[in-house]
C-alpha cells in the first residue's frame, strides 16, 4: 500500500511548531516510515505551483501552523484546503490566533507607524512603507497585503481538527498522527487534547484552596512565585482554571503560572471572560472600593486574559478608531 502523503505549512508563526515536528526525534522516523512528506517549506523548497499540480486527495492531510495575516497565507491555506481531505490547525496561532493575535490590540496603521517611522533605530527620511506593488529597475515587484487584523485558521477556511499548544507537545502530535493512520479520529471539529481543565491535572492542585484571599495580583515580571504552592493562591494570574489540560503542565514544572496556550476549556465560549469569572470568585474584596483596587492590580487585561486567544474571542479585537495615525 502506498504511504499516505502529508503536508506541513506555516503562516504567521515563530517556527516553534516546526521545531515540535523535529522534536518528534525517533518518532519522526516512525512518522517518515509511515507517511511521505509532500510539503514542508521550513525544511525543503516548495512553491505554490507545486501544490497546484496535486490531484485532490493525493495528499491526505495538511498540518497548518500560524495565524493568518497576509493575503499570501490566505492563498496557500485555501489551496491546501482544496487539495487535502483533512486539515489540522496545528498550534495555538492556527487554533486561536496565538501570540501574533495580540496585534489585534492595535491597528495596522499603528504597527506600520512604529515599525517604519517611530522606532528609534529606523532612519527613513523618504517615509517608505511596504506596498503590494512597485516597480524597481523596470521590474514589477509584488508583496502580499498585510491585513488589517490577525485571524485564526478557521476564520478563513474550514478546519477539521485542532492540535492545541504553543507548541503542541510531541506526545499529542504522535497520538494525532496515530489516530489519523488508524482512522480513529473523534468527531470533526474536535480539539485533540483532554476534555478537562489544567487545574484538574496540575500537581499543585491540592494546594489550591476553595476560596483564596487575594488582595492584589502579582506579576512574574516583578516577583518570583514559590514553586510548590498553587500560583493563583499566591496571587499570580494562573490561567489553569480556564485552560484545557494536555500540555504536561509544562509551565507549572518550570515555576511559571499557566498563560493559557492550550486554549479554553471545552464548552467555554470565551477564554478571557471565563478566567475573569474565576478571578472574581477568589479576591478578598467585599466593598466597591476594595474591588476596584483589586481590579486595578490586574495589569493589561487583554494581554493577560487573551494572551493566545484574542482573535478567537467574542469581541475579536480592540476597536479604538480615533487613534491618531502619527
Amino acid at each position: 500500500m502506498a504511504k499516505p502523503k502529508v503536508a506541513f505549512y506555516w503562516c504567521a508563526s515563530c517556527g516553534g511548531c516546526e521545531e515540535t515536528v523535529v522534536d518528534l526525534a525517533e518518532d519522526i522516523l516512525k512518522v517518515v516510515e509511515a507517511v511521505d512528506i509532500a510539503l514542508w517549506p521550513v525544511a525543503l523548497d516548495f512553491k505554490l505551483k507545486d501544490v497546484e499540480t496535486w490531484q485532490p486527495g493525493e495528499v491526505a492531510v495538511a498540518f497548518i501552523n500560524g495565524a493568518v495575516r497576509l493575503s499570501e497565507q490566505h492563498e496557500w491555506v485555501r489551496l491546501l484546503r482544496e487539495k487535502c481531505p483533512l486539515v489540522i490547525a496545528f498550534g495555538s496561532c492556527a487554533h486561536l490566533g496565538g501570540i501574533p493575535g495580540l496585534a489585534n490590540d492595535t491597528t495596522r496603521e499603528e504597527i506600520l507607524a512604529n515599525k517604519y517611522h517611530r522606532s528609534l533605530t529606523v532612519d527613513n527620511p523618504n517615509r517608505v512603507e511596504p506596498r503590494t506593488a512597485c516597480t524597481v529597475n523596470g521590474y514589477e515587484l509584488e508583496l502580499p497585503l498585510f491585513w488589517k487584523d490577525v485571524k485564526p485558521l478557521d476564520a478563513v477556511i474550514d478546519v477539521d481538527y485542532y492540535l492545541p499548544g504553543c507548541p503542541p507537545p510531541t506526545a499529542l502530535v504522535a497520538q494525532a498522527v496515530d489516530a489519523i493512520l488508524k482512522g480513529a479520529l473523534p468527531p470533526k471539529g474536535s480539539v485533540l487534547a483532554p476534555e478537562k481543565s489544567l487545574c484538574e491535572s496540575c500537581p499543585l492542585n491540592e494546594t489550591k484552596p476553595e476560596t483564596l484571599a487575594i488582595k492584589e495580583f502579582k506579576r512574574v515580571a516583578t516577583s518570583t512565585p514559590e514553586p510548590d504552592r498553587c500560583y493563583l493562591a499566591q496571587g499570580y494570574v494562573c490561567m489553569g482554571p480556564a485552560t484545557r489540560s494536555g500540555c504536561g503542565e509544562r509551565c507549572i514544572h518550570g515555576n511559571m503560572p499557566c498563560r493559557g496556550c492550550f486554549g479554553p476549556t471545552p464548552g467555554a465560549l470565551d477564554m478571557g471572560t471565563k478566567m475573569l469569572g474565576a478571578l472574581g470568585t477568589l479576591g478578598e474584596a467585599d466593598s466597591d472600593g476594595t474591588a476596584m483596587a483589586l481590579a486595578g492590580t490586574l495589569a493589561d487585561p487583554i494581554g493577560t486574559l487573551y494572551r493566545f486567544s484574542l482573535p478567537a474571542s467574542l469581541l475579536k479585537r480592540r476597536c479604538i478608531e480615533k487613534e491618531e495615525a502619527l
Partner: protein, 147 residues
C-alpha cells in the same frame, strides 16, 4: 438625525430573588419606566458569567445592567460579592477593548424596591443613550479584513 431617534438596547441580568421581583413590582404597581431593558432572569448576580456580558455587547447590546440583592442579602451568601469583584475587572477589560465602562452597570435592588428599579432603568437608559449606539460588529468589521 439617527442619533435623535436612537433607542438603546440594554440587556438586564436580574437576580430572581430580589431584583427580578423588584422589576415585577415596578410592573404590577404600574410605575412608568422605559422599555429598553430586556430582562434575563438569573438565579443570582454571582451567576452572571462575564462571558454573558461580553456576548451581549458582541451581539448588539448598547448597555448591560446586572442587578442583584443588596450585600448581605444574597440567597447564596457570596454571589453578589463575586459580581462586585468581577464588574470592576470587566470594566477595565471592556475599556481596553474600546467599550466605555459606563455601558455596564451593577446595582443592588431588593424585592420591595420597585420604584428604585424603575428610576435606575430610566437613569441608565439615558446614560447609555448619551453614549450613543455601540455597533460593535460594524466597528470590528471596519477594522478587519473580509476574507
Amino acid at each position: 438625525m439617527e442619533e435623535a431617534s436612537f433607542e438603546p438596547k440594554i440587556v438586564g441580568f436580574l437576580c430572581r430573588w430580589c431584583s427580578y421581583t423588584g422589576a415585577d413590582l415596578a410592573g404590577t404597581s404600574r410605575v412608568q419606566y422605559p422599555s429598553n431593558v430586556v430582562a434575563v432572569r438569573v438565579m443570582c448576580s454571582g451567576r452572571v458569567d462575564p462571558t454573558f456580558v461580553v456576548k451581549a455587547f458582541a451581539d448588539g447590546a448598547d448597555g448591560v445592567l446586572i442587578a442583584g440583592c443588596h450585600p448581605g442579602d444574597c440567597h447564596y451568601l457570596e454571589g453578589n460579592y463575586k459580581a462586585m469583584r468581577r464588574v470592576p475587572m470587566l470594566k477595565n477589560l471592556l475599556s481596553q477593548f474600546g467599550i466605555e465602562p459606563a455601558r455596564l452597570r451593577l446595582e443592588w435592588v431588593s424585592a420591595s424596591e420597585g420604584e428604585q428599579f424603575a428610576a435606575l432603568v430610566k437613569e441608565f437608559t439615558e446614560q447609555v443613550r448619551a453614549l450613543g449606539p455601540l455597533r460593535w460588529e460594524e466597528r470590528v468589521a471596519a477594522l478587519s479584513e473580509s476574507a
